[in-house]
């Protein structure tokens, strides 16, 4: 999160207002750290770990640090189906960007959803819809991608994208 806050003004300064206007179509790519950049950042972080234990300990820590979701959103309708643990996700759109908050009763699942939120939160719905999720494989969490996997990483990604599709429809 810190990385994004630091790099944002730097990127904006790089380009003059005129240039940004000329590049209206691709503007978002410059003013917001792209999903791909965040994914690469995460891949870099995970590449520092030597074994599964360090990777999982990091995910557990991410899970513990995940900001708490407002209790009013921990409703039955916000539960993602297909997970063995309970996962709640809430989405809100401001200034054409979706902010996600989430929680889970299992800490590893919470770590996984924390990573997904870091990737997808504060992004334009279209970018969320278009994003691929190869990075999950690259950070050594491939085993969580199988559709039978009880933690439902696939269901989580699908749900975040569903929110994006819903908000994109509002924008159109």
């Amino acid at each position: 999160m810190l990385g994004r806050a630091q790099s944002r003004p730097k990127l904006e300064n790089k380009f003059s207002y005129n240039l940004l206007t000329m590049l209206e179509e691709t503007k978002l790519k410059f003013v917001i750290v792209s999903i791909e950049d965040i994914q690469n950042e995460i891949i870099d972080e995970f590449s520092m770990f030597d074994d599964w234990e360090e990777r999982y300990q990091y995910m557990i820590d991410l899970g513990k640090d995940l900001p708490l979701i407002n209790d009013q959103y921990k409703t039955e309708s916000n539960i993602i189906k297909g997970c063995q643990s309970k996962v709640w996700v809430h989405a809100e759109m401001t200034d054409d960007k979706i902010a996600f908050t989430a929680d889970s009763d299992a800490i590893i699942t919470k770590g996984i959803i924390a990573i997904l939120i870091r990737v997808f939160s504060n992004q334009h719905p279209k970018n969320i819809i278009d994003a691929d999720t190869d990075f999950i494989d690259k950070i050594g969490l491939k085993e969580h991608l199988s559709p039978t996997r009880a933690n439902g990483l696939v269901s989580m990604v699908k749900q975040l994208k569903m929110y994006a599709i819903a908000y994109q429809t509002q924008l159109n």
């Binding site: 599964w52 234990e53 999982y56 300990q57 557990i60 063995q84 643990s85 309970k86 009763d105 299992a106 800490i107 590893i108 699942t109 009880a150 933690n151």
Partner: protein
């Protein structure tokens, strides 16, 4: 003479590695592993006998039919059924239960009562709920206590002349409790009710004698008894099986078909529509042979020893709680670490090569009773060792350390 190291040599999968660690397989209550003798039986069937059965005049078909019917006789002998036609080969315990539940939908009427236990697997709840919805019968539940035992005094009170059916598992899949089925069968018969026992979890550990039990229906799955998936059996008393209508229509189950009327085949074929799982049935017989070679007395003595050892070792871990502490139980330990989700524990154990089950084990009512989302379940088989249990205990300690 029971020697676990020799037995382990029969199971090729036990020597593989998982996540770089030697596999410690403790998910036996979900499915058992397959010995080489059973794998060989599959290969032998497809290499030498594969043909459709019961109708062919050619030699292969006759040989395959003989093998299939011999398997039925092996199953009959194993469960001590009176007749081989009382053994219906099905796709598994769930199929067997559905077959009976469906049959009873034409025998029950509004106001009839059926009794189920609080310890059931969803597969022994949902078909009966569906049956009650169709017929207007009332579903009643034998409650459980904190130890995970059924409360027999409540069962006595539930029984009445309206009771038509009682169904429960022989052994609980989630907690390992051995239910007092002898008592339940006797009491149910006193009011004229039929009893179905789900033996899916019992058959890997004990050898039920259906005649001694005087049970009306008993079901089992091959894949929990060192056999293949997709095959199981229904034992039913001849009189009951004659009374129940066929479950599915198709080939094999008919005597004569015209567009005006079809007459059904005799038992057991009346309930075996279509081409059955021929290889599965034959190999089910081979699996039963294998287990009997080891011997069920030796199996239960050894597994009890494992259970006691594991219970004692796991309870040494501070904050670990075992669910299901019935006096009479099999080698299943359902547990949780304080304030830690079972899914997290299962994930860490998996990274250590330890296979356990996590979740509600298809027995949500039990989890609701304890007010927990699920448990970690380690279920032991005769091919597990105390060294593997030490690995499990160390794994749980590590998971606790990482997750706290």
């Amino acid at each position: 003479m029971f020697n676990v190291q020799d037995i382990r040599k029969d199971f090729p999968i036990l020597s593989r590695k998982v996540n770089g660690k030697p596999l410690a397989y403790f998910d036996n209550a979900a499915t058992s592993q397959t010995p080489q003798q059973v794998i060989d039986a599959i290969v032998d069937y497809y290499s030498n006998y594969n043909a459709n059965i019961h109708r062919g005049v050619h030699t292969l078909s006759q040989e395959a039919t003989d093998l299939y019917e011999q398997a039925r006789q092996k199953i009959q002998a194993h469960f001590n059924a009176k007749f081989s036609h009382e053994i219906i080969l099905t796709s598994g315990a769930t199929h067997s239960i559905n077959l009976v539940a469906n049959g009873f939908s034409s025998l029950l009427k509004k106001g009839d009562e059926v009794i189920v236990s609080a310890l059931e697997h969803h597969s022994n709840i949902v078909p009966w709920q569906m049956l009650c919805e169709r017929t207007g019968a009332i579903l009643k539940v034998i409650p459980m206590n904190e130890e995970g035992e059924l409360v027999m005094s409540s069962f006595d009170n539930l029984l009445s002349e309206n009771t038509k059916l009682v169904f429960l598992n022989h052994i609980s899949n989630a907690l390992g409790t051995i239910n007092p089925i002898e008592y339940i069968i006797e009491k149910a018969h006193e009011v004229g009710a039929a009893v179905l026992i789900d033996g899916a979890q019992a058959c890997p550990h004990v050898k039920p004698d259906v005649q001694a039990l005087d049970v009306d229906f008993y079901v089992a799955s091959a894949h929990k008894m060192c056999g293949p998936t997709g095959v199981g059996m229904l034992y039913g008393k001849e009189a009951w099986l004659n009374k129940l209508p066929p479950y599915q229509g198709g080939g094999e189950m008919i005597a004569e078909v015209t567009f005006e009327k079809t007459t059904y085949a005799d038992l057991p074929h009346k309930f075996e529509a279509g081409t059955p799982n021929i290889a599965g049935g034959i190999v089910f017989g081979a699996a039963i042979d294998y287990m009997n070679t080891i011997g069920f007395d030796a199996i239960s003595t050894y597994e009890n020893d494992l259970l006691n050892y594991a219970t004692q070792k796991l309870l040494e871990i501070e904050g670990l709680k075992i669910y299901g502490t019935a006096k009479n139980k099999t080698s299943v330990i359902s547990f949780n670490l304080e304030n830690i989700h079972p899914y997290d524990v299962g994930t860490i154990l998996d990274k250590l090569g330890i296979a356990v089950r996590t979740g509600h084990h298809c027995a949500q009512p039990i989890m609701d009773f304890y007010n927990i989302p699920g448990t970690v379940r380690a279920s032991f088989s005769f091919y597990n060792t105390k060294e593997e249990i030490d690995t499990l205990v160390e794994g749980v300690k590590k998971a606790k350390m990482m997750l706290s």
